[in-house]
């Protein structure tokens, strides 16, 4: 069956999104011969030149730059008693495909977790009475200290031209920023974006009520920026086509605007598109990989020999490739043995929509990350222990788009016809939201494995996701609801609607939340309960590195991109400093 074998490379990169692009440039700069294989098509700037992306139906409704369920579906169930069914249409999350990956159409919120978020297990052991949390909870610490990882957050901030207010500079709290953020070695590279009316109203009220709001940290940049690789990012013009769209103005940090034009100049880097990797091929002893096999554009099977394999496709695609390739042992939730697939977590959102007859929010003048948030309700910053749950949320008022489809209308407005049209005329631009983006713990029964029933068009089993809400997350939602509604009342809207989970809610896969799926191939201190060591190196196959959201042991309330950038840079550094000199396991146990 195997018909083609490519020339050997030093490094093969599977998936050319954020993680793949970072690995590509860092390892190509080291002089290694690097080849990236991307499942989707190329996405050159001509594809999203002004004004093509300003098309809500094409991009946001028809998911123009997302993976097609036919190519990337998985199956889903609530618990092990059920038979999982395939996702025939994206709902709760929507992974990207093509060069740039999800980094091309993300919103652009680039926020770090707090030092407590990274050491959540230590915090829980210290702050919660033994046995007071769900016995099935399996939260863990990230396997590095704040001081170890901070320089990599700092560098990635600069790669992206992070715009916002500094909150904690080398231990000193700064006015206007997040007082709860971990000490940063350098201030934000660029000043914050301008506030819109909703964010000013929210911030003012929240401040009066004792919270500590600050502008959403944004990778939609506020001023022209040249990053450490020499790439240029243009100042954002607040067109409002960010989340689900490629930026038409070179203003949103993406692999395209920050890395790819640089790495493409290097003669020792190349990339293939429409190259769908179906497995990592291991040597007979299963200790090292010898390359990867992919299906090319002409549907031919191609073997790509490589000395190092980087799995940098989307979170669950990475986990699936590990399972399909026999890298590590599949997780079993009954015996709690095996590591591949464990600690899968998602996140929840929700909030209130406030309607004002006499206010015009100009929702079409905005950036994806425009808004204000506060971090007072995140682990360690409030007394979660007395409330019976662990976790937290960003509470924010963001105005990410003014595109008309899906405009919020006051309760009671008809959903179609004349009444809906009248409602649109009366209420478009007259509402704002106060929203929550929450943490989500990991549990013994939430995991990923290969589906026994469903296969993809190449006959390869789909990944199966077993996940549902737990009381811990639902209690958190109810607590956040009280806070959001209190702030909302202070703002005195003419009408209001709300959307929060009830204590008996199940996970709804049909309604979009965010594509912040995490875990499944987590990093940790021990090969017993983690798939990867602190350098994202497989404990089992030492020349395989797996950067991405898959490495998070649970989900914090901060958006994941900053951390994906930081841990990928950390791993790239370890490959350069230690692995190349002495290939083998980088952490001894």
């Amino acid at each position: 069956m195997q018909t083609i074998t490519n020339d050997e490379v030093d490094v093969v990169i599977v998936g050319l999104g954020w993680a793949g692009s970072i690995m590509a440039i860092e390892l190509a700069k080291e002089g290694l011969k690097v080849r990236a294989l991307e499942r989707g098509p190329d996405r050159p700037p001509e594809d999203f030149a002004y004004p093509k992306p300003a098309d809500q139906y094409g991009y946001a409704t028809r998911n123009k730059v997302f993976a097609k369920p036919r190519d990337a579906a998985l199956t889903v169930r609530y618990n092990t008693q059920e038979t999982a069914l395939p996702t025939r249409k994206w709902g709760a999350f929507a992974p990207g495909t093509g060069v740039g990956g999800s980094g091309l159409h993300w919103t652009g919120v680039l926020i770090r977790p707090t030092p407590t978020d990274l050491k959540l297990k230590t915090y829980a052991d210290h702050a919660y009475k033994r046995g007071s949390l769900d016995p099935d909870m399996r939260i863990k610490d990230f396997p590095f200290t704040w001081d170890e990882i901070e320089p990599y957050y700092d560098f990635f901030d600069k790669v992206c031209g992070l715009s916002g207010n500094t909150g904690n500079l080398r231990g000193k709290t700064q006015p206007g920023g997040d007082p709860f953020e971990g000490p940063r070695s350098n201030p934000y590279p660029l000043p914050a974006l301008h506030d819109t009316l909703n964010s000013s109203m929210f911030a003012e009220t929240a401040k009066r009520m004792g919270y500590h709001p600050f502008p959403n940290p944004s990778a939609n940049v506020s001023q022209p920026w040249t990053n450490p690789y020499g790439s240029q990012i243009a100042p954002c013009n607040y067109c409002g086509f960010c989340s689900k769209y490629p930026c038409l103005n070179y203003s949103k940090a993406s692999p395209q605007t920050t890395i790819l034009d640089v790495v493409k100049q290097m003669p020792n880097f190349d990339y293939r598109v429409n190259a769908n990797v179906i497995r990592v091929d291991l040597h007979a002893d299963k200790k090292t990989a010898r390359g990867v096999t992919y299906i090319d554009e002409q549907k031919r099977e191609v073997f790509q020999p490589a000395k190092i394999v980087i799995l940098s496709s989307f979170q669950f695609a990475n986990v699936r490739l590990m399972l399909l390739s026999g890298i590590g042992k599949p997780y079993d939730p009954i015996t709690e043995t095996g590591t591949i697939g464990r600690n899968y977590a998602f996140l929840s959102n929700g909030g209130a929509t406030l309607f004002f007859k006499d206010k015009n929010f100009n929702p079409f003048v905005t950036a994806g990350a425009t808004g204000e948030m506060f971090n007072d309700i995140s682990p360690g910053n409030f007394d979660g222990a007395s409330l019976g749950f662990i976790g937290g949320a960003k509470i924010h008022s963001s105005q990410s788009s003014g595109a008309p489809i899906g405009t919020s209308l006051p309760p009671g407005t008809p959903g179609w016809g004349k009444g809906w049209k009248e409602g649109m005329v009366d209420w478009y631009g007259r509402s704002m939201k106060i929203s929550i983006t929450t943490s989500c713990m990991s549990y013994r029964g939430h995991y990923l494995d290969l589906d026994p029933n469903y296969k993809d068009p190449w006959g390869v089993p789909l990944l199966r996701m077993t996940f549902d809400w737990r009381q811990n997350e639902l209690k958190l939602q109810r607590y956040l609801r009280d806070i959001v509604l209190n702030i909302s009342k202070e703002l005195k809207p003419d009408a209001m609607s709300e959307s929060f989970l009830a204590l008996d809610s199940h996970w709804d896969i049909t309604k979009y939340v965010s594509t912040h799926n995490v875990g499944g191939a987590i990093m940790g201190d021990s090969p017993k309960d983690s798939a990867l060591n602190r350098y994202l190196q497989s404990w089992d196959v030492h020349n395989v590195f797996v950067p991405g959201g898959n490495a998070f042991p649970q989900n914090f309330q901060a958006n994941p991109t900053a951390t994906i950038g930081a841990i990928t840079l950390y791993a790239a550094d370890a490959i350069k400093k230690y692995y190349l000199k002495n290939p083998g396991p980088l952490v001894k146990v």
């Binding site: 001509e46 030149a49 002004y50 240029q232 013009n237 103005n249 070179y250 034009d261 493409k264």
Partner: protein, 419 residues
């Protein structure tokens, strides 16, 4: 005794090997210097065609009197210049005469290359013989119309118009200005485009002693700016532009894009600074630069911001251009060109502006500025009338002061694009 002879032999062999290695190292340095000079001369621009090996020729150049195809200048003995002696090579480069005695057309800028020093010619020869891969590519034959197909006629042309004067510095020039002059007047052959041409397509001046030198003109219907003095730019702006295809207030477009990509972006900063110093020294061409009146700039920005009672041109600007260039026309430093006071916008001939509106532009990816920033073309979106209205507004908004553009002007440029 035997032993010592052996030792002696061994030692001398070693010495010889060392000498040979030193020789090779020197040659490599020479070849590298030749490569750098070939970049400065932008030989690749004409002698390479898309999809063909480097320097194997075949690029079609429309002379207006027929098509000239560039030649294969790889060291292939049969199809290239592999059998040229250094003297023959120098004669071709400096005087436009091939080894077989026939004349080249002055699409080859030999009137400028005549100024290349013997030292540099030696390095160029070393590069083209040892640093370029031979290719057996045979470019199509040049097909000029009568009487231009009579190559001997070029001897007459050369007699009247070409110069074989070596490079001459002028009194009072610093070392840097001298270097800049040598690069601009010689290998850089900037005058090929930026010096106006006479009746016989001859450049009206070949060095700084004449104020017509680099005073701008037209090329393939594009307005070509004067390089004399460059009043709107400082030295660093010129260096940035040549090194990265962008600077504080503009980005490269049109034919110059390839010049930056293949030639000037590869030059060392010192050489670019020398070029900038030389250009700044030249007396500006009267009337070749727009004068900025801030008062006018504000009035236009205010009107666009208010967005009331807009003309069609103003409305089209808001819908198509303001996203990047903003209502102030300021753009963004090194990313989106500033439109206020821009040379191409204020040129008498609007063709360059119309071409950019219709076909767009893209910055080259250079070592110092890798980002490829694309301005889309608007040919598919705007009618001739709309482009004319838009261009007229852009040429008269803020402090710009140029004549209106007609629908006919647009149609003419569009027709050329669609060819």
């Amino acid at each position: 005794m035997k032993n010592s002879l052996k030792q002696l032999l061994a030692a001398s062999t070693l010495a010889l090997a060392t000498i040979a290695m030193a020789q090779a190292a020197t040659d490599q340095t020479l070849v590298q210097r030749g490569q750098y000079l070939a970049r400065a001369g932008d030989c690749m621009a004409c002698h390479s065609a898309a999809g063909k090996p480097a320097f194997s020729g075949g690029l079609a150049i429309d002379s207006g009197h027929g098509i000239i195809y560039s030649t294969n200048i790889t060291p292939d003995k049969q199809h290239g210049i592999g059998s040229y002696t250094e003297q023959q090579f120098a004669t071709a480069v400096r005087h436009g005469v091939r080894a077989d005695g026939t004349n080249l057309y002055p699409a080859m800028p030999y009137p400028s290359y005549a100024k290349v020093t013997d030292d540099d010619m030696h390095a160029l020869y070393a590069y083209f013989m040892d640093g370029v891969k031979p290719s057996a590519e045979q470019p199509p034959a040049t097909s000029m119309r009568f009487p231009f197909n009579m190559r001997w006629g070029m001897k007459v042309w050369n007699f009247f118009f070409a110069s074989d004067k070596p490079f001459q510095e002028q009194a009072g020039w610093s070392g840097e200005i001298k270097r800049g002059a040598y690069l601009v007047e010689g290998l850089g052959h900037c005058g090929s485009c930026h010096t106006p041409r006479g009746v016989a397509m001859n450049e009206k001046a070949l060095d700084s002693s004449d104020s017509k030198f680099l005073s701008g003109g037209e090329l393939n219907d594009w307005p070509v700016p004067s390089l004399r003095g460059l009043p709107r730019w400082n030295e660093q702006d010129i260096v940035d532009y040549l090194q990265t295809g962008r600077n504080r207030n503009t980005s490269v477009a049109g034919e110059m894009t390839a010049v930056v990509e293949h030639s000037t972006s590869h030059l060392q900063s010192d050489d670019l600074k020398a070029i900038a110093m030389y250009l700044k020294m030249l007396s500006p061409t009267p009337g070749a630069s727009a004068s900025v009146k801030p008062q006018g700039s504000e009035a236009t920005a205010k009107k666009l911001t208010a967005a009331k009672d807009l003309t069609l041109g103003e409305r089209l600007y808001l819908d198509n251009c303001a996203a990047c260039h903003f209502v102030t026309a300021k753009g963004a430093t090194r990313i989106f060109p500033e439109l206020d006071g821009s040379t191409v916008i204020n040129a008498d001939n609007p063709t360059g502006l119309l071409h950019v509106i219709l076909a767009g532009a893209r910055t080259p990816s250079t070592a110092k500025a890798p980002s490829i920033l694309v301005m889309p073309g608007f040919a598919h979106r705007l009618s001739d009338n709309e482009v004319a209205e838009l261009a007229t507004f852009v040429r008269q908004g803020w402090s710009n002061q140029a004549a209106a553009v007609s629908e006919h002007d647009v149609a003419r440029v569009r027709a050329k694009l669609e060819k």
